[in-house]
Symmetry: C2
Subunit: 115 residues, 2 copies
Amino acid sequence: MVDRIGLLKRPASPRGRRVPAKGDDDLAGLAWGLAHPARAAILRLLLERGECVCGAIVDSMPLAQATVSQHLKVLKETGWIEGEIDGPRVCYCPTAGAMTRFKQLLQSLESGERR
Amino acid sequence: MVDRIGLLKRPASPRGRRVPAKGDDDLAGLAWGLAHPARAAILRLLLERGECVCGAIVDSMPLAQATVSQHLKVLKETGWIEGEIDGPRVCYCPTAGAMTRFKQLLQSLESGERR
DNA sequence: ATCGTTAATCGTCAATCTACGATATGATCG
DNA sequence: CGATCATATCGTAGATTGACGATTAACGAT
């Protein structure tokens, strides 16, 4: 069965025998955010510059505005970035601690910790 | 145009204005491998145990054998694990250095290095 | 109020993902 | 050889992704 009844947009950890390690969903979520080169590029840009208005991001990518906007949405939903409305435009910046959190989750994968 | 002419299974870095940082594809590829909770769980299991035969992995997950096999394939293709045929079964283990490489790529994201 | 700019959202299409049962392959045992 | 166990692969259904143009919404300026 392994549902997905419509509550979750992205696959949740399959429930079952193995205790689902809790961190797997979080890890998968953050990993998902980076799992597209365009999103990696956007995050790289933001980490380089600290922050950046949407338009500048669009200009730096060979993708349509709508597409970039979608990727920004994914990055926001997965917790990598935040957007702040700044007059008529939106300024994006990396979420503080997201990278650290991700690395922690990776570490917990390695060390078999249960968090 | 931003093609994808069939050579690549997963989205390649969109070509265009911004020099595509090269690492973005690698990073996205590895991230993709972890971007599903089941795959994170499998990798966790392998890192905990060092190695594990396929059947034991299947038994520990609430997924059909075919599905687990598919996830194992993705993990293999993205470079996270290796499988060694061991008599009638297949023994999987984490690829040495994959985690390190992934962390390096993350680091290069943060520091704006170009590799 | 109206216009222009900026960004998000809508609608759509083709491609891909995830899940599964069924089937094929491969090795070992009797 | 034939039966059996362990995995991989095939085929398929349904959901989701990623791309885009078009539209909408939100703001600031005229």
